[in-house]
Structure formats: structure tokens, C-alpha cells
């Protein structure tokens, strides 16, 4: 038995379903009852009951692509801030394209404190700090563009179903948009106006993330703004 309609807002502790169902993300089960554990939108999909959080911190997960900032340079590698409660580690062997020699290689000349990187999370099991790598095509140091920070919970909405939203943004604003799963987005476009337009659209998505028909409204907004300015 379901107690809510799909996509209704629920608060922690609210009874979502009773019976033979599976407790999905942001829910917990006691006996046959499934309760919400976070503020969010409820979703019933077949036997699964889950809540899509409206706000959350970023918890690393292997395979995620993130944007991070170099916080410290050590003898073996770098400490990286990835907008998460857990500080990430990037080992020199996962960054350099050659064998790492402690006596010869000066790590600070490769990546220094304050540099931004686009990296992939290799491993994280909550007992050790997350490990990053940049030894893959498309990853590495960020040299240009603007950074936007949003709540990590809104990232799936910015990407959209089958990447529909992000493709729309890329097409309409002609910007290169790199989305980090940790809520940091890199935008580099042909002109500052176009970059501003992309940022404006992202802010609107974040603000209205829990409403329906968002993709169409964003498309309309971008076209309207473009008509006025360009």
C-alpha cells in the first residue's frame, strides 16, 4: 500500500509504503513499513520505493567524475578538496604519464596548490580516503573556464534523463560544460555572454529542480535571453 503519489514532497520519518516492497535510496525499512529518511520527492517504481533528496553532501563513489582543488603537495602526491566531507588523495603514479622518481620529479611544478583538476574516483570504501586518478583521456588539469557550485543532489537534474538537459544546454549556449558529480560544474564558451547564459540556466534548474516540464522551460528561457541579447 502506498501513502503518497509519485513525486510528492516527503519529510524524514514519513510512512511511504507498507507491504512487500524494497526500500530504495533515502528510505529505511522497519518490519513491513518503509519510511523516508530525507527531505525529498518520493518515487514508486514497481516494487521499489525511493526518495530523491532535495539537498545533500557529496559522498564519493568509484567511477564518479569530479572537479577538485589541490590543497596540499606531499612527497607521494596531492591532497585534493572534492567538495565532500572526505579529503581525496591523488597519488603521483596516478597523475604522471611516466614512472615517478621521488628524487627527480618536482610535484609542485606539475600541479600546485590552488590548481583545479577534473578527475575520476578510483576507490572509496569509507575507511580510507577516496583515491583519484587523472590518467585517462579527458581528465587532468583545468586551464580555462568558469566554475559554478551547486548542491550535489541537483546534478542528476542538470544532466537530465538520457543527458537531455545537459545536451540542450551545450547546444543552445555553445559552451563546453563539464559536470562533476560533486556539484562543481566547469563552463567554457565562445564568449562571456554565452557562459553567463549557461550559468543563468543552471541556476534556474537548481531553483526549480523539483518541478516537472523543466527541460522545455529552460529551452524557452535560453531562446528568449538569446533573442534579447544577441
Amino acid at each position: 500500500m502506498f501513502y503518497f503519489e509519485n513525486r510528492q514532497i516527503v519529510t524524514p520519518g514519513e510512512l511511504l509504503a507498507e507491504g512487500d516492497y524494497i526500500a530504495g535510496s533515502n528510505t529505511y525499512k522497519e518490519g513491513l513499513k518503509i519510511y523516508a529518511s530525507r527531505l525529498g520527492l518520493v518515487e514508486y517504481q514497481g516494487k521499489t520505493v525511493q526518495v530523491i533528496a532535495l539537498n545533500s553532501v557529496y559522498i564519493p563513489s568509484p567511477g564518479d567524475q569530479v572537479i577538485g582543488k589541490i590543497e596540499d603537495v606531499n612527497v607521494y602526491g596531492w591532497a585534493v578538496d572534492i567538495n565532500s566531507p572526505y579529503k581525496a588523495v591523488l597519488k603521483a603514479s596516478d597523475a604522471l604519464n611516466k614512472p615517478f622518481k621521488q628524487q627527480k620529479d618536482n610535484l609542485a611544478s606539475f600541479l600546485d596548490i590552488g590548481d583545479l583538476i577534473f578527475a575520476k574516483v578510483m576507490a572509496f570504501d569509507r575507511t580510507i580516503d577516496p583515491l583519484l586518478t587523472i590518467r585517462e583521456p579527458g581528465l587532468g588539469k583545468i586551464t580555462q573556464g568558469q566554475i559554478v557550485k551547486v548542491s550535489p543532489a541537483k546534478i542528476p537534474r542538470i544532466i537530465g534523463r538520457k543527458a537531455s538537459m545537459i545536451n540542450l544546454l551545450k547546444k543552445e549556449t555553445e559552451c563546453k560544460i563539464t559536470v562533476g558529480q560533486n556539484g562543481i560544474i566547469l563552463i567554457s564558451g565562445p564568449s562571456p555572454e554565452r557562459e553567463r547564459l549557461a550559468i543563468l540556466a543552471i541556476e534556474k534548474i537548481v531553483q526549480e529542480a523539483h518541478t516537472s516540464g523543466l527541460t522545455d522551460r529552460i529551452a524557452e528561457m535560453i531562446r528568449r535571453e538569446k533573442g534579447e541579447k544577441i
Binding site: Y28, R38, V57, R217
Partner: protein
């Protein structure tokens, strides 16, 4: 009763005109601070309290980190201007105790084990005090935790009951608390039916205690509805705005 203030008048009403089982007027708002991860504000009668939550975040100093769960830290603080005579801003014994008590009231509701080695920091700032601030502080802190997107078993809601002039009353104000015979603050998780804080000051018979406890739990249930509404209100408002926008686009 000579020389003392009458707390219940001949019509059975209290000093602020309430019935014995009536709450003070309550206003709750969520998401009032943009720099905190989660925040909330409550006005309960003349008491005004602001709560801010940060986290889960990296814990400093590091040696306090717990290997299996997050550390919940709580600071209850009264602003120097919150009471009639200026209160020194340094934490008093009472504030340190209330910080601990509120932390312990919130702890069972939060899934701390989901964020090992991190900290969740709760700041409760009393802007204006008129009794019942430990309860209102707990209620508003739970709202701020939910707003920060921290996983919780249930919201925590707190309310006091007590006895003044021989009558059991709900939600005592400062005067009733000081002049009355007993005060019984209760923090409650309504969906789970669990009590996470129970204190008593003064004297009650066993029978009165049972009645007062039920009265306080009834008060908690009323406030719980308001808590849920205020959490949803913020997002519902945006939703309605958007729907209006769509409607106005379709009109011409």
C-alpha cells in the same frame, strides 16, 4: 496565595489568555540562512530561535573523529540581548548542559553511522527568550537538520507541560516556568512513538506526571504537523510559482 502572582484567573485562563491545553502561537520557517547547509527559524510566543546546521563535514580537530559514525556537535547559545538583563555572551553552565541535552535528544534520530569520521555541527541561537527554549531549540534544530539533507529516522519535536496554580498546562512561558509548581520538557519522535528527552523540575504526583506527559506528547504532535508543513512550504511555493508562469504562458 497572597503575595504571589495569580497564574490562572477565575475563568480558568492563563496569564497570556490561553486555555490550559493550548500552545502559544507558533511560526516556523526553513532555509533562512544561505551560508549554512541547513537552517530554520521558530517563533513560539515571545521566544525567537534560529538554528544552523553544517555538515556532514571534515572534522577538526581530527583526533575527535569516530571510526564508525559521525560526531554530532551541538551549541545552544543565548544572545546577550535575549533576556531583560544583559547576559554575558560566554557560555554558562546552563547553556553547556542544554547543549548536551539537546544533542542527546537529536542523536537517536540521525543516521550518524552513514558518515563515519565526519562531524555534523548544530548551532542554536536564542534571539529572544520567554521560556521553553530547550524545547523550541530542539524542534528548530531538527528542522535545520532535515533542511541540510541529513538522513534521519524521524523529525524530533519537543514541547513542555507543567503545573501552575494546581492546573496541568501545556507549553509554559517564562513566568509560568518560574512561578509554577512543575515543568516537564519532552522531546518526541512522533512517527516512531519514542521519547528522546524527558526532564522534570518541581513536584508532580505519579498520576499528574502521567497526565502531563500525555499532554506534552499531544502538544508535540500538533507541532509536528507544523514542522512538516514548514519543510514542504518552501518547495511548494516555487512549484506554484512555476505553474502560474506556465499558465500565464498558455493564456495568450
Amino acid at each position: 496565595m497572597s503575595g504571589r502572582i495569580r497564574l490562572i484567573d477565575e475563568n480558568g485562563l492563563r496569564v497570556d489568555g490561553r486555555k490550559p491545553n493550548e500552545l502559544r502561537p507558533i511560526k516556523m520557517e526553513v532555509g533562512v540562512l544561505s551560508n549554512a547547509d541547513g537552517s530554520a527559524y521558530i517563533e513560539q510566543g515571545k521566544s525567537k530561535i534560529l538554528a544552523a546546521v553544517y555538515g556532514p563535514r571534515e572534522l577538526h580537530p581530527r583526533h575527535l573523529a569516530l571510526p564508525d559514525r559521525a560526531l554530532l556537535r551541538c551549541r545552544y547559545h543565548m544572545a546577550p540581548f535575549s533576556v531583560e538583563e544583559r547576559k554575558s555572551p560566554a557560555p554558562t553552565r546552563r547553556e553547556i548542559e542544554l547543549s548536551k541535552v539537546i544533542r542527546e535528544a537529536l542523536e537517536p534520530a540521525v543516521f550518524l553511522e552513514k558518515f563515519p569520521r565526519t562531524s555534523i555541527d548544530v548551532f542554536i541561537e536564542v534571539l529572544q527568550a520567554d521560556g521553553g527554549t530547550r524545547c523550541a531549540g530542539t524542534t528548530v534544530a531538527a528542522l535545520a537538520l532535515a533542511d541540510a539533507g541529513i538522513p534521519m529516522r524521524d523529525l524530533v519535536v519537543a514541547c513542555a507541560a507543567g503545573k501552575v496554580d494546581g492546573v496541568l498546562v501545556l507549553d509554559l512561558n517564562d513566568l509560568e516556568d518560574k512561578e509554577g509548581e512543575a515543568d516537564l520538557p519532552v522531546a518526541y519522535m512522533p512517527n516512531l512513538g519514542l521519547i528522546s528527552l524527558l526532564q522534570m523540575d518541581g513536584t508532580l504526583t505519579v498520576d499528574e506526571f502521567k497526565q502531563a506527559l500525555n499532554l506534552a506528547i499531544d502538544g508535540c504532535k500538533q507541532m509536528y504537523k507544523m514542522q512538516k508543513e514548514s519543510l514542504k512550504a518552501r518547495y511548494v511555493a516555487i512549484k506554484e510559482e512555476v505553474e502560474e508562469e506556465i499558465d500565464s504562458c498558455l493564456q495568450p
